[in-house]
Each structure stands twice: as C-alpha cells, then as structure tokens.
Amino acid sequence: MKPTILIPSAAFVVALAAFSSGCASHGVQNPSGVPVTEMKADERGFVAGTGVESQDLVVVTSKMARDILNVPEIQRAQGMPRIVLDPVMNETRFPINKDIFLTRIRTELNGKASGKVRFLARDRMQTLEKERDLKQSGQVTSSSDPNAVEFKGADFFLTGKLQGMTTRTSKGVSDYILYSFQLIDARTSDIIWEGSAEIKKQGLEDAAYR
C-alpha cells in the first residue's frame, strides 16, 4: 500500500474521531436515567443539598425522643403525663414543613414508650368539639355523659426552634443548623428538659452556575 493513500485516510479517521469525541467525551452520564432507588430515611442519598433533609430529621428526632424518655419528670410521673405539641419555630433560611419534626418525635415516643406519655390531639379540636356538640344535642349516641368536660389539659408542651447560620463565598456555601427542643411544664412554665442537635453542611455548585 502506498503511503500517499495512507496519509489522507488516516487524517480523515483522526478528524472523524476528534469530531465525534468532541461531542461525546464530556458525555452524558446516566443517559438512561437512574432507576428508582429505595433508600433508608436516615441515609444520605445521591440527591442532596445543604438544607434540612430526611436523614437530619431522623437523626435529630430519634435523639430527642430518647432524651425525653430519660427526663425524671416523665420517668417518675404519677399517672400518665399529657403532652401537647406546639409548632416549631423556623428561623433558618430553609422553608420547611415544621410539623414534621414534632410528628416524628411523637411517633417515636408513642412507638417506644407507649404508656409513659400520652399526646393530646389539639390540632383536631375543631372536629372533636363538633362531635361533642352532636352528642350534647342528642343527634348521635354517646357512651358517657356528653355534658361532662372530658377533654384533657396539658401537663407539658413540647416545642422547638430551628436556627441557622449561612456563609456563601466563591468557595461554596456552608449551612449550620441548630435544632433545639424543649419540654415545658404547663403549670409552672419551667423548662424541664431541653435538647439540641447541630448539623453543618457545605457544598459548591458546578462552575457553570457560579
């Protein structure tokens, strides 16, 4: 084979390769997408930001539930203490569903310490009052005296606060969040227990977005 034929053909192949590699070398990753992956709620997934995420929720609420059960006022209580949830205050930069923290603490406590504490469904008062009124008016049956006051009062309020600090520079963004929860004696306003957890996350966006 003559070299004069080889040179243009080789050049053509190189040109073609360079052209095609230019389009594909930085190519698409996961072109077919990523199949749905079931993760544990306390696991850090491949989709993550610096905000409040499920693994934070699980870690924080599990810790708080354990701590609450060790509070002497709960352990040595005469009878069963009644707790009302008061909405968490969000002072971070992340809009969140605030109730989810207290809901998880409640379910943890109900699951692990059933009988030690009892929660009152104050968020359902409207429905409960309507039902009581129906019973009082005789429109529906009642298994007890409908005129007796049976809605229980709270012994303790469980509430919390989320506070954050953010730093953003050319090197990235850093978010620190302090999760603090309190158990407050409804009669004396004493804070009988306070627990906190802190989480810091940092990240840097792709240069294309900076």
Binding site: A15, R93, A208
Partner: protein, 392 residues
C-alpha cells in the same frame, strides 16, 4: 491511481478557510423557546425551571395562587439542589454552549423565585417560612465580586425584619440594613401591627444579550417602562411608594461570573484552533499544489498539513463559547412594598402606578377588593401587569 491533487486541494482549503466558525460580533438576543400556554412536559428538561418561573409569576399576577405555588415549589426545589449537576459539566465542555445547562437563572432571577415563594408563604399564614425564603434569596446574591453589592436587596432585609418583629423577635438590625441598602430613599419602619401587606412591582424585565467575537460575553440591558412609583389608596390612607430595589442594578453589580472565565477560555480555544487550521490549510495547500503530484515527501507533508488544518478547523467550528441568554422575561424591573393598618372586613384598595412626574398612569390603575381578616395578615400582590380589577 494518480489523483490530480493540486486541483482539489486548493478549493478544499478555500472552503475550510471560508469560515466554519462564526465571527460576527453582533448582539445575540434571546428568543423564548416556549410560551406559557405550552405544557411543561413539552419543554426541554433544561428549560423546565425557566418555564416554571414564568408560569409561577404569571399565575401569581392572575391570583391563581395554587398554580403559582406549584410552579415555584418545583423550581426552587431544583434551584436548591443543583450541586454537582451533570448538565453543568456539559455546559463547561468546549463543544457545548452554556445554554445546555439546567436553567436556574442568574442570581437576580434566583432571588426573585425565592422572593415570590416567600410572598406565597406569608399569604398562607407562615411568616417564618416566608422569612426563610427571603433569607435564602439574599444568600443568592451574597457571592459578588465587590462585597459592597453583596446581599444588598433592601426589600429582603426589610421583610426579614418585619417577619421577625411579627414573630415576636427583634427585627431592628434587618430594618437598619434595609434602610442603608435602599437606593430610592429610606423606607419607613412599618409597625409589626400592620395587617395588610402590599407587595408591588412594575416595569419590564432586564434583558440579556451576548456580545464578543463568539457571543461569549453575557450582558444586561434595562427594561423600559414609564412607571417610576406607585400610590396605594385605601380607606383614608394615601401611601406614596418608591421602589425598594431595581433588578437591573442588581443584575449589573455582581461582577464577573466563574462561567465567564470558562467561556472566555472556550473563545480563545476556538480562535486559536481556527487560526492554526487556517495556517495549516494554506501552507499544506501551497505545498501540495507546488509539488504537482510528484509523490515526493513535500507532497505528503502538504497533505498532512491539510488534514491537520481540516481537523483543527472542525474542532474550532464545534467549539461553542456562546453565553446563555435564556431569561425570565416576565420579571419586573422594580419591586416595592407597603404595610398598612386596616380594620377587618371588605375594603377597596386602589394602586396607581405613577410616571416620573408622580402623575398616575390611569391605564395601569388596579382596583382590588380585599377581605381583611380579624387576625393574621392580609397579603396582597399587585403588578402593573395584573388584571385591572381583582377580588382577593
């Protein structure tokens, strides 16, 4: 077979030289890729957030708050989780334009997405989540080159202070920052007891365009509008309102982007490979032509140079340094706010948009019938693009 190479090599070289690479330096303007009436699933995935921004704002102006919430929630979800995005890597490659990345907008657009979502949270009686949005919005503007312009949206600090005061905290620091940041006079400290919060906006959006040899430089131009202020009239109150923030000012005071350096590098690469290609093609063509098909080493070197030049030209032609000029084009230029104390019940609230002489532009006057609740805040959103009358 003996090819008469000298006859086809020169035309080939000329074709290649005639310019695969665009070199005009005219402005490249953004043409919206989709209208608001289109379904979001027909929009390319990389433009979805842009579509949601536009649709969300459009819905907010029409008082379709559920649709606004849905669009802005999804958009801010993408916006907040953009770390390590593979489309971003694609946009940085030599052979893809910047517009191949997932659109989340320039910082002034990201700020506005969180700002609008904050308004909706406040409407829903969640001032703390509203404040969270305003704080995140302010963070979007924090990494400016010149720190003087970092996180300097007056309205965001102002609303942060107001929400904090309403939640029983001390908002004075945020109010103070807002007063220092405002370029249009000092906004008065609104008492926390103000129960009607009027969010206003007017003017046309900042326009993006690209300049430079290969359209690699992103630039902004202001929108045009005769509106310079507003007057809110309700019951016996008559409140003159000036802008808190100018989005054109915000867009143009951030300094260079990291992506600008990447695009500049791409432009240099494109230019260099083009020049090298030209030189190789010319020298190769001349060399091959002058050898008259004698099959000697000069002939072969000439062909080699031509091939190399061709490859270099192809690489140059496929290098794409163009800046991303997709833009959230239904944004306003100016944003403002007024807080009023009103008695509960139904009220007629009028917002007049004024020209530079303070005269109302009657065609833009909005009349709103609002129902002020006995507790909590009534949040009202008014744009010069809103319908002339609304019941909220």
């Amino acid at each position: 077979m003996n090819f008469p190479r000298s006859k086809w090599l020169l035309p080939l070289a000329l074709i290649a030289l005639s310019g695969c690479a665009s070199t005009d330096s005219e402005r490249s303007a953004f043409v919206p890729s989709s209208s608001l009436s289109g379904a979001p699933n027909r929009v390319p995935a990389r433009d979805k957030v842009l579509w949601e921004y536009r649709a969300g704002l459009d819905a907010l102006r029409r008082a379709d708050f559920a649709a606004a919430r849905e669009n802005l929630d999804d958009a801010t979800l993408t916006l907040g989780g953009i770390f390590g995005d593979k489309e971003g890597r694609k946009a940085r490659s030599y052979f893809s334009g910047e517009n191949k990345k997932t659109f989340i907008g320039e910082p002034y657009e990201r700020v506005m997405a969180y700002y609008y979502r904050g308004i909706l949270y406040w409407m829903d009686g969640e001032p703390d989540n509203a404040r969270a949005c305003f704080r995140t919005a302010q963070i979007q503007d924090s990494d400016t080159e010149n720190k003087e312009y970092s996180s300097d949206y007056a309205i965001l600090d102002y609303l942060d202070g107001l929400a904090t005061a309403k939640l029983g905290g001390d908002g004075s620091d945020a109010f103070k920052r807002a007063q220092e940041e405002c370029k249009f006079g000092k906004p008065a400290v609104i008492p926390p007891k103000s129960n009607v919060l009027v969010f206003m906006e007017w003017g046309e959006s900042v326009k993006k365009y690209a300049t430079g040899q290969y359209h690699e430089e992103l630039r902004f131009s202001p929108g045009s509008s005769p509106v310079r202020g507003a007057t809110v009239k309700v019951q016996s109150q008559n409140v003159q309102v000036l802008p808190y923030d100018d989005l054109y000012f915000q867009a143009t005071t951030r300094g260079g982007r990291v992506m600008d350096h990447i695009l500049a590098n791409k432009a240099v690469f494109k230019s260099t490979t083009d020049t090298i290609g030209n030189a190789a093609l010319v020298s190769g063509g001349v060399l091959a032509a002058t050898q008259q098909g004698r099959h000697n080493s000069g002939d072969e070197v000439g062909l080699g140079l031509l091939a190399f030049g061709l490859v270099s030209k192809i690489v140059s032609a496929t290098t794409t340094p163009t800046a991303d000029i997709r833009s959230w084009e239904n944004l306003p230029q100016f944003i403002s706010f007024a807080g009023l104390v009103m008695s509960p019940g139904e009220n007629i609230l009028t917002v007049e948009f004024n020209d530079s002489y303070g005269r109302p532009i009657t065609s833009l006057t909005k009349t709103l019938t609002i129902n002020v609740p006995s507790s909590g805040d009534k949040v009202v959103f008014v744009s010069d693009h809103s319908p002339a009358s609304q019941r909220l």
